[in-house]
Symmetry: C2
Subunit: 351 residues, 2 copies
């Protein structure tokens, strides 16, 4: 049975209703049904369903079109359901990342039937998991015309401020090899864990660069996120793998980012396992939007789906309620004040 | 149905029959039944069963009593069954570790009814697993009088040579702590994997000591056997655990061994998870046996159950067929020449 979402209700009540509709990645069917049904009730929108993503568009012949996008899925629950309103905050799974933002977008979809620019609302699945399951990725691959736009707003939590662009991410394994031996005769082997010391020391000594673009400082990073060595309790390990994670400024290409990491570990086996480009802030093309939102842009340091829009040639920024550092924590919440600010500012921009 | 072991058959045939009786640790019931049944058929032995261990003793009133011991269990099979005789070697699971030695002991039990010294044969379970399941450990705890003896021969593979004493083993975790953070803001955390670099470097730089006892050089060791760090691909790890394995000369007590490791990592959290003492070679009390075996003693570097006899005050040495470095390998084998040498030399000693 499809749950009914009342898009005319207050943004706080709507956020809570969305939180109370569990939608762990891969299980967004019910929430997508509810969103689709609610949007189909609105005459000014053309609604399409792709998997468990929902796209709703105005078609008013305006000279400009904007995307407003938010993902429907959450990480797994952590004892943080149902929703709870306490001291001006909505607590609960996904409240911050990012059902508060989805509620704002749904309120706009229902409450602004005659916007100054044409709008494409995208409510999508599987943002919290592997990139090839991501709903935006799927729409871009299967129905790219649905994403045609002049700019995009991604409702990622950014404390109701503007976070522009995003850094790229590179993950690589540095593989250090030795030779296995029984620890009772350790000198007959070569201990790969011991050989990993200079790699870890080099990471410890590394000073990341700071890159300024459009007046925004992107602070890069390079560090170990995992170290794995070990065969058995009495065996000299013959392999040690150090997984490093690099965050690189959006002005660097993936190739440059890879070269940068390889240059830091000459003579070592470096296996790049993933590299995704960042997104330039593109503030020149987003000036009107930034002005309307009344916020001073900050650089987005984490990777977000704005990079997917950048790859499509669409300038995009992050603008949503909630503190991004609370995302994925059991105690995540979204301040009511953020919900109201975001709804109000976007509504003004759309008028 | 109990398998029949023919103790009158050649040592090679008997080794193969034992290999063909699978006896992974914890599943020694069938082989223990077969050994017990075969030994109960011998009038000169008093046989007792403790779990899946079998003890058989002469009681001839001799002034001296010796233990001859071998474990019945093996590590799990690795596609190396059934046994195979090829170019003077018996191949197959446990051939080296240590069914060849068990076959030699069974041949002596059956073939030397009137030995020059009283004998206690111990065929025991669960040597390859946790120490508290070990059959010798259980007999020492439940029926210590059964192990009373003036000296002991452990049929551990030692290339039909004498390996005296054994080194102690200490295992410890060195825990390095940091502070978790999102890798997009790595500077807000402290990377525990990076802090582990000096620990690994210290292990790399460490020069183990060499300790000479009774003319035998025990070469110590201290090194990492495992390194573990990692929370998630986008998280600065807040903990890195380096597991170190120390092999220490039998002249050091467990307390000294622990102090030695702690001294090398001042200021670090060191959790000792296991420490077992070694066994002094005790060659002064084993001179007659060593002379009879006609081999120049070498130091045993790995830990063996001779340490259990040492803890009971019984000097013991390792003497058995097979190359110890083949133990636990899929390709393990025992040379027929070793089987014959061991049987012959021990038989002479017993006459």
């Amino acid at each position: 049975m499809t749950v009914t979402l009342d898009l005319a209700s207050d943004v706080v009540a709507l956020t809570r209703a969305l939180v109370d509709l569990p939608s762990e990645s891969g299980r967004e069917g019910r929430i997508a049904d509810a969103v689709e049904t609610a949007l189909r009730g609105l005459r000014h929108l053309r609604v399409e369903r792709i998997g468990d993503s929902v796209v709703a568009r105005t078609d008013l012949g305006r000279p400009e079109r904007a995307v407003i996008a938010g993902h429907l899925d959450t990480v797994p629950a952590a004892g943080n359901l149902p929703s709870r309103l306490h001291e001006g905050r909505v607590h609960g799974l996904g409240a911050c990342d990012m059902k508060g933002g989805v509620a704002v977008a749904l309120r706009l979809a229902a409450g602004v039937p005659d916007p100054a620019r044409d709008l494409t609302y995208v409510f999508y699945e599987c943002e919290e998991v592997e990139g090839d399951r991501n709903g935006l990725h799927r729409i871009a691959a299967e129905r790219p015309a649905l994403l045609d736009a002049d700019l995009a707003v991604l409702m990622e939590p950014s404390e109701a401020g503007v976070e522009a662009g995003c850094q790229g991410v590179l993950t690589a394994d540095i593989v250090v090899r030795g030779a296995r031996a029984h620890t009772a005769r350790a000198w007959t082997g070569v201990n790969a864990a011991h050989l990993a010391a200079p790699v870890l020391q080099r990471l410890a000594d590394h000073t990341p660069e700071r890159v300024v673009i459009d007046g925004l400082e992107y602070r890069e990073g390079l560090g170990a996120v995992a170290v794995r060595a070990g065969v058995a309790g009495n065996v000299v390990p013959d392999e040690c793998v150090i997984t490093v994670n690099s965050r690189f400024a959006p002005s660097r290409s993936p190739e440059e980012a890879e070269e940068y990491v390889r240059r830091h570990f000459p003579g070592y086996e470096v296996r790049v396992t993933e590299v995704v480009p960042g997104a330039l802030p593109g503030l020149d093309r987003l000036a009107d939007l930034v002005a309307a939102l009344g916020a001073t842009p900050r650089p987005k340091l984490g990777w977000t789906d704005v990079a997917r829009f950048a790859a499509l040639g669409t300038p995009a920024l992050n603008y949503g309620p909630g503190d991004p550092s609370l995302a994925h924590t059991a105690g995540e919440y979204v301040p009511v004040a953020h919900l109201r600010t975001c709804e109000e500012r976007l509504r003004q921009w759309l008028r």
